[in-house]
């Protein structure tokens, strides 16, 4: 079906929904690179006005990537919850934006709606929303997940402790882990990006983290972010796998480029679930995404990068994940050029993920060839704190020496918790207080009791 809008004497035509969505997307370098972006400011707004009038029902009849060609499209259509959709089935995209912002549309309503929203609907409405709208609606959503602690409760804010090391040196990793724990980081997960994907190396890292966790009885979970096939093999060998990690994309072809399929993820999910290692819940999956990955794999089918990203969330929600993390600024300036584009993309991803019912976190980050700096990251961190983001990364001094990019520091998490009165996951907070790391007001204590230090010393002699 084609769409159009006339401004003055000029009529803008958009041949299909996919084109309309791309042209309505706020400007970003990746869509320009793909050759699908609006060619003028006017064309972009014309597309947004036309999109605003599209009934939501149209998204159920017009697939932007054909059903026959893509298993993600099939997943989206086959798992769509018509009963939940009935809440909004008479609305257009523009009316949905207004409906989401209404006072009556509260947390419970949004939770009920989630399975009725498709990724394309979420992407479409986000394109009509200002940053303020994305924050206001996301703030009303609440997505809570559990493994050894409870993540995503309103008023709480968690961090993934990311103690990476360029050669996976266990002492180097342990040193960063201890640093992070003493800053109160690590309630979402202690997660290492390994330098190698060899099962033996990954197993060593899992054992290191599991030993530390058990010795100090830390109510959190660990993860080595290896390929899902490596994790699956380790699960079968009986390694201490808490969470199963995988990077995912929004098209079947992009997932093939990652070496995965839904069938493989099904297997990995079932295997990890069967270990039954969670204590307060059994959300066992950890997914990472990021706008632009489909284009970079030449697997975008002419769909704009933000819509592709939202489609990746359909993959994520099939597996009841503990954590979904959009690694927003990692991909580079050919996809998100500057601080403005990175900030916008992060707010869109967080909003779309939350609307679809996912426990969204954001890796607030940039590379040295992007037009961005620490000030942009401070802005984004503050916006995401207000928006109720579930978690961010914790990297020593912001500088990830293995992945060579800048993310958020342990200090950044303290800043946002202090500024907005947010607290760690409740179980983890109790542990921090018990260990003398936090006081009962949630403030960091500057001195460590010698007992903790002496116990930690034991790690080095093993």
């Amino acid at each position: 079906m084609s769409y159009h809008h006339t401004i003055g004497r000029k009529t803008y035509r958009f041949n299909d929904l996919k084109t309309l969505l791309a042209k309505a997307s706020p400007h970003r370098s990746g869509d320009v690179l793909a050759g699908i972006a609006a060619e003028s400011y006017e064309e972009r707004v014309a597309a947004q006005i036309a999109l605003s009038d599209v009934p939501l029902k149209a998204f159920l009849s017009e697939a932007i990537i054909p059903y026959e060609h893509d298993e993600i499209t099939r997943l989206i259509i086959d798992n769509h919850d018509i009963t939940a959709f009935n809440l909004i089935n008479s609305l257009t995209v523009g009316e949905l934006r207004d409906w989401l912002l209404r006072d009556e549309t509260d947390t419970k309503t949004l939770q009920d709606l989630a399975p009725g929203i498709t990724p394309e609907m979420a992407a479409a409405v986000s394109k009509l929303m200002r940053n303020q709208d994305l924050i206001a609606v996301a703030k009303k959503c609440e997505v809570v997940t559990r493994f050894r602690n409870t993540i995503g409760l309103k008023g709480h804010f968690s961090t993934r402790l990311q103690p990476n090391h360029p050669t996976d040196d266990p002492k180097g990793i342990a040193a960063s882990m201890i640093d992070g724990l003493l800053y109160g980081s690590g309630d979402a997960v202690i997660g290492i990006n390994p330098a190698t994907d060899s099962p033996a190396e990954v197993n060593n890292l899992l054992l290191l983290m599991d030993t530390l966790r058990q010795q100090f009885d830390i109510p959190t979970q660990s993860c080595v972010l290896s390929h899902v096939t490596t994790t699956l093999e380790l699960v079968r060998q009986g390694a201490p796998v808490d969470l199963c990690f995988q990077s995912i994309g929004g098209t079947e072809k992009s997932n093939s480029s990652f070496g995965i399929s839904l069938a493989l993820l099904d297997q990995a999910y079932e295997a990890t679930l069967s270990l039954n290692r969670g204590t307060v819940g059994n959300n066992v999956m950890y997914f990472e995404t990021g706008q632009g990955s489909e284009l970079s794999a030449n697997a975008h089918h002419g769909v704009d990068q933000q819509t592709c990203e939202a489609r990746a969330y359909a993959v994520a929600r099939k597996y009841n994940p503990l954590l979904v993390n959009t690694v927003v600024g990692f991909i580079g300036p050919e996809y998100l050029y500057d601080g403005k584009q990175i900030i916008r993309a992060a707010l869109e991803d967080h909003f779309c993920g939350k609307l679809l019912g996912l426990p969204m976190g954001v890796d607030i980050c940039y590379t040295n060839h992007a037009e961005a700096d620490q000030d942009d990251m401070d802005n984004l961190l503050t916006l995401l704190g207000v928006a109720g983001c579930n978690f961010i990364m914790g990297v020593p001094g912001s500088d990830d020496i293995m992945l060579n990019y800048q993310s958020t520091s342990f200090h950044d998490a303290l800043y946002i918790r202090n500024a907005l009165g947010l607290r760690p996951a409740p179980e983890f907070e109790q542990w921090l207080i018990k260990q003398g790391i936090l006081d009962s007001n949630g403030m960091l204590i500057n001195h460590t009791n010698p007992r903790l230090w002496n116990e930690m010393k034991g790690i080095w002699t093993r």
Partner: protein, 262 residues
């Protein structure tokens, strides 16, 4: 850990600060651990240190090839030096359009046409990439070892090509236009916080437009404090010999070179 054992005994019976505790761990990693805090924030000296490292990286991204100096220094090899330009007209465009950085502009294509009648073995290309600083600093040091070695082994070298606003794949275009059996590109890598002057070298056997990463071999982190010129040159020379012997490059070649780790 021996160095710290004394410390640990000493502090066993009193409260210690986090800084004190973590200072001893800094020997195990280059990560910015144990940097202290003021309130919730990073103290000023550490904050400025990070800012300076980022400034170096940013300056490197916007640095330019020093064509005059490089041309003068390259004279010692007694090879023709060509100055070429990609289709990316300026840095901001280069950063957003990697496709343009992989193609030569029209003037460069005409220049190459003029020199394409002779068949050659190897074309050496020098491009700014994401850090011209890296290439300005490291090119001559590496080529001083590599070029005499290649010439002594009887390889016929094409003119040396300096490329502004170039990406890795532009080497395939140039190598093909100059009728070379192999193309090598020296290019500035994405600057990290700890090194803004890291140079990479990629080589392609039988270069042609449209090849992708799996057709190339890469040697990374070439700089005085990283992979030294001598070591880098040794690896490159080995790969070139193997590529000519087996008539291929890329993933297949890399997989069978146990020597690369030595």
């Amino acid at each position: 850990m021996e160095r710290n054992e004394g410390n640990m005994d000493e502090i066993k019976d009193r409260e210690i600060s986090h800084d004190e505790l973590l200072h001893g761990l800094r020997q195990f990693t280059a990560a910015r651990i144990g940097i202290g805090r003021t309130g919730a924030s990073i103290p000023i000296s550490q904050s400025l240190e990070l800012k300076l490292a980022h400034a170096h990286a940013r300056d490197a991204v916007y640095s330019e090839l020093d064509i005059d100096k490089l041309s003068a220094d390259l004279k010692q090899f007694e090879l023709l030096v060509l100055v070429l330009h990609s289709k990316a007209a300026y840095r901001e465009q280069y950063l957003q359009r990697p496709d343009l950085g992989r193609q030569l502009d029209e003037a460069s294509v005409s220049t190459l046409r003029y020199y394409s009648h002779d068949k050659t073995d190897i074309t050496i290309i020098i491009a700014d990439g994401l850090s011209a600083t890296a290439v300005n600093h490291n090119t001559i040091g590496l080529l001083k070892i590599l070029i005499p070695q290649l010439q002594a082994s009887g390889f016929k070298l094409a003119p040396l090509c300096l490329v502004k606003q170039g990406r890795v794949a532009i080497a395939d275009h140039i190598g093909a236009d100059l009728n070379s059996r192999l193309a090598i590109i020296l290019i500035g890598e994405r600057p990290g916080l700890s090194s803004a002057d890291s140079m990479g070298v990629y080589l392609t056997y039988n270069p042609k437009v449209g090849l992708t990463d799996e057709s190339r071999n890469c040697i990374s982190n070439i700089r005085p404090h990283g992979l030294t010129f001598k070591m880098a040159s040794k690896k490159i020379f080995y790969l070139i010999q193997e590529a000519f012997k087996r008539k291929l490059s890329g993933v297949v070649l890399k997989d069978n070179t146990g020597l690369l780790d030595s």
